[in-house]
Subunit: 485 residues, 3 copies
């Protein structure tokens, strides 16, 4: 730990938040790289190509409606809304960091999805006959999923990093995600429809590890800005609600056509409903006078959707979904009350949005629920064909039985945690280098360093500002006099 | 009326808004009950179950795309947005009740949809072979519809009740709704695609009757909070627009596959467009200087969607939809100008959101339009098969003719009104009991009793600001004196 | 130019913003006219009519899912959100014009879509057998598209016109649009899926020409209101994000079933992603200290969606989309930095929202990209059948080859520009007449003339509040003294 500390000291030089060269440079170079790589590697798949009509005839597809576009596009758009409006507005709760919350979320998601199409394409969609990645609507959804992992990580470091750091975080995050996903889904053959493990566990621990590496002992110098105001809490509810409403689409977007999508949507819908009630209950029970805390309502109500992610496509049963949601509402809210302060004080992890309570912990629970549900699967419940379809017991994995599948699911969860923690520490090291333009400790949670903020007559009337200024000056002067005496 | 008054007096003891025991208790107990009941009763239907693949083969269904999921899921998501964002944000117009508007809306909808799945399931989806309720996407839509009735009622009592009262209102509201719906749709065999009668008329009168029972003679003590501020009106427009845009999905969500959904969407789209113009016209005409009133724009523009609910799936014709929308914009806006103050003054009904103008009245109009359109139906317009399909003249109702159907529609409307008024009075009685933690008269329309409200430098009360100012002035003057010396 | 000036002087009389007679009169008369015209002309098409079941059997359509409703309704709803929430909220950035931005957008869109159904119907959907226009979901989408052209134009005159002027602007705008669209798509046989030419180029130049005709030399008298505040910028981001997210639906909504919709969505998704990065890069590079400007993030990030509109359904290739987005982000942002001030100073075009940078210029680029992509099309890339399908080389146009199609596309672009500029000058003339109730120069960008604005304690500086309080107290006291006397 000593060497970590000395490395930290080395990095904590005078801060300069001017990103006028670094941010445009990174954006231009990376976007140009994307164009070149897309030119070399990416083409439309047979359902998005003009040859679709010939493909249809050859494969005896009776109607255009059987193009995968019509199975998945509505879910894709819902997921898209979650990524940009959901995650973006969820983070607007800080009184003076709404531009950064929505704007940087926008920036890194727009970069991330391009890089994700490439990374995931190389692992999953490479056509070996011509060396091209063939993309369609399912790839777009997967790219959005991949981005979600990085946006989760952003939640932990919200307000404490520069846009350049966020782009670096995203570049490495997407890369790690694609590898981890390949190991979990393809090599281990775990199932993870809604990404409890692949997205939320990984993203959560990735962000927490980075936040630990970027620990700021004097962050309380920004404490005046580390809270919400009335309107910013209402803005954040826009994010919460769009995430909550469209989570059934998230968990069902890439599941099997037909019953797979149908069942995943129902399970998620129910789990989320149960979470709301237990979140409200715990929030009221643990506050003085039984008042509800907006932080809990904004975040913990979503934990059920995370935790039901892996098992959503299984025969979890409606009551099973409710039980998962019930527990997660309790655990997540208690996490905000007890765990977040504990982690900041003793583990030196400053988790701005509480992603440990919303993503990491519920993600792990989701992985465990998935393992148990898979292990408990039986032909009597699923039917012979249903069992094969649901768990994809085909080809190489023809002889897997549910018990073994449960073990594979658990193995997948471990991989996700390892990649999250390990990758986060590595990337955190890189982000500590004093070249990225991150803000000083007394300048965090403020849009001012990176945005042209409009003068806002509503918040502080000019006459008052002037007087405040004078008062502060007087106090400073009198302090000076006292010091002299 | 004397006994009502004495009962009222008995109930109006000292108010205590601390819900620290009651709210968590209700949430936990009811959610646990849901889990148990879901465990006993609720299963997936054959389109969401892993046996779907066998079901497909047995019923000779050619493709997964014919799973009901793909017919209804996009509409379901739109309805879901209306319930949570639409209703929630529509009620944020009050300057200091946005948390309560969005948050309690969220809470009661999340509880209500679970209870609705059970109640509606027992009446409509019970499989007598095994005593289970089999759910799919259509049940989720119906549960959201059922919840809408209670959220409408919330609009009448907005700002004047505690979250525990709202949960009780919802429990009984859903129960009454399911019974009323069963009588209207199954026993009477009325058609009501968009729920003009079943949802809006019932919900509207239910809320108004409760509000009448909870009449507060001294509500003007909260008048300082009973208005909007600039930003809260913009937030409310988010609710208005999402309701307005997705109303075609609402009215077409559970209509017949094919032309039924198609026609219902077109009719609703047109009716809503016409309503906007007449609302603007009346709002401008009846205000001094022709200025528009945000209350009308936020609410009355939606009346056309309510009023076209029943007839949306009939051959109302595009011009018919426009006429309905035209009239409703006028009536609803005039309601806000004349009827709401009249009802408060003479009928002792305090209707915070004006649900009488937005839901109750247009709902009744919708019922009447539906009855007339049904009675006027003919084979020459609908075609022989079309007539049977549209009005479901099958089985037991094979010999119903359109004229008789018109009568049935009218009967359905009466049932909805009776259930609304009767149920509201009953539930209002219960809610007057002095155990629910409702706020005092001078504490209404305020988030402070039930929420941890952030300190908001923007909203520092003027007296404090003045003191700050004086203090600053003193300092400034002393500075001046010092300078002179 | 002299006569233009003298005409201008004649029109610039004393301003009276009272629209109490004119606004209701226009709304009532026009809505009544709509009802009559709809009664005479508009009916459901065979997919929305109760005869669908017979149509299905006759045409051997195997399932209800092949009703066009299921191909296009999800895209329609996304487009609908773009029109009402996207355009509406994008314009809320001004500190005191949010009501006007959202509310007038709502009004003119609701009127415009009715008029568009008629105008476009006469040109495209008239059934000559019975003289009726038969509408279905595709017509609703086209009506929304048509409205988009007028909402773009609204952006140029935002804050400087009365609602009556906006309705006139819309009436003529829709009319011109329908004619222009008929010439470009039907006579010239250009392809324009996402409307780069038909919607954006036309709408942009239409608005700019009107703004030029309505030039206000003394607009700086309203400069105190011509900026944003913190919260209004966040509201505007709601508009930006919903436009950005749903643009793939916009460009794919009316393309061919199957691969056409699929490919258009992918291309748009990619172009928009690239635009975000170059917008951020240029915004940072050209500002002091590298700070980002919200105006650029809100607007220029959308330019890629505009520019890819025409070519979205062609085989533009994923990297082609990225290149288009890359360039448009740069050009649009530079437009905000250099061109908008230049146009205001030297060309006397006051463009409130900068539609030249967001719609007009990218629209022209889109037209050119479309022409090039079409001209470069070949059977080796598209396949024989694919080429015919994509460019609709059928019937009268059977012998068109790609090179010629490229020329046709370019011709279409010229028509769009001519209609925009010419129509705008004509309509601008009409709007200068001193009868429409537009605001005076020192009253622009303010909701106060046309809306009942709530008294907002947040926005009144404390000193004023205190004085108000004292004044009221004085008055009360003097009343008291008078009573005693």
């Amino acid at each position: 730990m000593g060497c970590v500390q000395s490395f930290r000291d080395m990095c904590d030089r005078q801060k300069n938040t001017n990103v006028r060269m670094s941010l445009p440079a990174v954006c231009f170079v990376w976007q140009t790289a994307m164009i070149i790589l897309f030119g070399v590697f990416i083409r439309y798949n047979e359902e998005a190509d003009t040859h679709w009509i010939e493909h249809r005839k050859k494969n005896n597809i009776s109607s255009d409606i059987e193009n995968d576009f019509y199975f998945r596009y509505p879910s894709f758009q819902d997921v898209h809304v979650m990524i940009f409006v959901g995650f973006g507005f969820l983070m607007t709760f800080l009184k003076r960091y709404s531009f950064g919350a929505v704007g940087f979320n926008f920036l890194i998601a727009a970069f991330g999805l391009q890089w994700a199409l490439l990374m995931q394409g190389w692992f999953h969609a490479l056509d070996y006959s011509d060396g091209k990645i063939k993309i369609g609507v399912e790839n777009l959804i997967n790219a959005d999923f991949c981005v979600a992992g990085c946006l989760i990580a952003y939640g932990a470091v919200l307000g404490k990093v520069s846009p350049v750091q966020l782009l670096v975080l995203t570049l490495f995050g997407i890369t790690l995600f694609a590898v981890e996903e390949y190991i979990i889904l393809d090599l281990i053959h775990a199932r993870d429809a809604g990404g409890s493990m692949v997205i939320h566990t990984f993203g959560g621990y990735y962000g927490l590890a980075i936040s630990w590496m970027l620990y700021r002992p004097n962050l309380d110098q920004s404490s005046r800005l580390q809270g919400s105001v009335y309107h910013s809490d209402v803005f954040a509810m826009i994010g919460t609600l769009f995430l909550w409403m469209f989570w059934p689409s998230f968990n069902s977007a890439i599941t099997d056509h037909g019953d797979g999508q149908h069942r995943a949507a129902i399970n998620t819908y129910l789990a989320l409903a149960a979470t709301v009630l237990t979140t409200v209950a715990i929030s009221s029970l643990f506050q003085k006078h039984g008042k509800l805390d907006m932080v809990h309502i904004q975040n913990s109500t979503l934990a059920g959707g995370v935790a039901v992610g892996t098992a959503a496509e299984f025969m979890l049963m409606p009551y099973g979904s409710l039980i998962v949601g019930f527990c997660c509402g309790i655990i997540s809210t208690l996490g905000y009350i007890y765990l977040t302060p504990f982690m900041e004080k003793y583990l030196k992890i400053q988790d701005t949005c509480g992603i440990h309570n919303l993503h990491a912990m519920p993600g792990v629970i989701g992985g465990i629920v998935g393992a148990i549900t898979a292990a408990a699967a039986s032909e009597s419940v699923y039917g012979a064909e249903g069992l094969i379809n649901t768990f994809d017991f085909e080809g190489e994995f023809k002889n897997t039985d549910p018990t073994r599948q449960g073990g594979l699911q658990a193995a997948g969860l471990c991989v996700a945690i390892c990649f999250g923690v390990g990758g986060g520490i590595m990337v955190g090291c890189i982000l500590r280098l004093p070249i990225w333009g991150d803000p000083a400790d007394d300048n965090c949670f403020d849009d001012e360093p990176y945005w042209e903020v409009p003068e806002d007559e509503e918040s502080i009337p000019p006459i008052l500002q002037y007087n405040n200024h004078m008062q502060n000056k007087d106090i400073a002067e009198s302090n000076f006099t006292m010091d002299q005496n």
